[in-house]
């Protein structure tokens, strides 16, 4: 009912892989059919689908970046984050984090650089970062990063010294992993907001590290 006016329809405009004017694909028809049947049977409400889409849009890398920046600037929060991440985030950012899976934060150090993968499917800290990028779900990254992590990181533009242990966490169970990157040098006194601007999604997966653009391309 009234779906044609739903504001999410604008996403079709940005979608490169489908033409809203063209014939609708079989799997799109299947999704519509299943959804309509589930609504008719009272299993779902139409509103619940919209609410879920909105809720997912509130989870994105900008949120993760704020969490990281907060950890860099607030030692108490960092301790709470490393101990009980979901509770710490829930309290500090007033976002519900309860769900079927848990979160663990992996802190990068001068000795250990963490990278996250799910070789079996596509487990990802969605409650914080939203849905994973396509490459994270695709076979190439999942197959290679456990075998040749340094070659993979090099493809992402990240070269690490030999003595740094590249530690690849394979999310094989219901624990999700978020990388807490090291705070870049030369950012003393920066606001949490400015620091968050350095933290990209890939920094929290471990395929990048935050860079201080003013630091003259060092290290």
């Amino acid at each position: 009912m009234g779906e044609q006016h739903h504001h999410h329809d604008h996403h079709h405009v940005h979608a490169p892989i489908e033409d809203p004017q063209g014939p609708i694909a079989e799997d799109e028809l299947l999704e519509i059919a299943l959804r309509e049947l589930l609504i008719e049977r009272g299993v779902l409400s139409a509103g619940a689908v919209h609410q879920q889409i909105d809720a997912m849009e509130s989870r994105n890398p900008a949120l993760g970046a704020r969490v990281v920046a907060r950890a860099w600037t607030d030692p108490m929060f960092k301790r709470a984050l490393l101990g009980a991440p979901l509770e710490a985030i829930e309290q500090a950012f007033e976002l519900p984090m309860g769900g079927p899976v848990e979160l663990k934060v992996l802190e990068n150090t001068p000795e250990v650089h963490n990278v996250v993968v799910c070789t079996l499917c596509s487990c990802y800290p969605r409650m914080l970062l939203g849905p994973p990028p396509a490459w994270y779900k695709a076979t190439a990254y999942r197959s290679r990063v456990v075998r040749e992590p340094r070659a993979v990181l090099r493809e992402f533009g990240l070269e690490l010294p030999d003595h740094v242990e590249v530690r690849v966490s394979d999310s094989t169970a219901d624990m999700r992993y978020l990388v807490l990157p090291q705070r870049p040098a030369g950012t003393e006194g920066w606001s949490a907001e400015a620091l968050a601007g350095l933290v990209t999604r890939d920094c929290m997966i471990g395929t990048a590290v935050p860079r201080n653009p003013g630091a003259g391309g060092g290290s």
């Binding site: 079996l120 456990v146 624990m175």
Partner: protein
Amino acid sequence: MISPRDALPVGTRVTVRLGPPEVHCRTPAYLRGKEGEVIELLGVYRNPSLLAFNKPGLPRLRLYRVRFPQRALWPKSSEGGAASVVADLYEHWLIPSEDNADG
């Protein structure tokens, strides 16, 4: 309900069973038969190979983080530098190695 075997202490060397894999199996093939070290006990969790058939997943199983040095997984790899894989593995897939110090 927790399975009766004692928890493996952090630092225990373990070998991942070769198989047989469950129909829905969360122990990846590339780790089977490999030796690693327990670095953390995450807790007890419902058994995913039973949850996959919409069963309650009991008894719960201990879940460990196990670290595998890169060389233990890919002895022929030409990739230099320090590296490791850490995976979350359920207890029934792990056999404590014979040569653990106080085993």
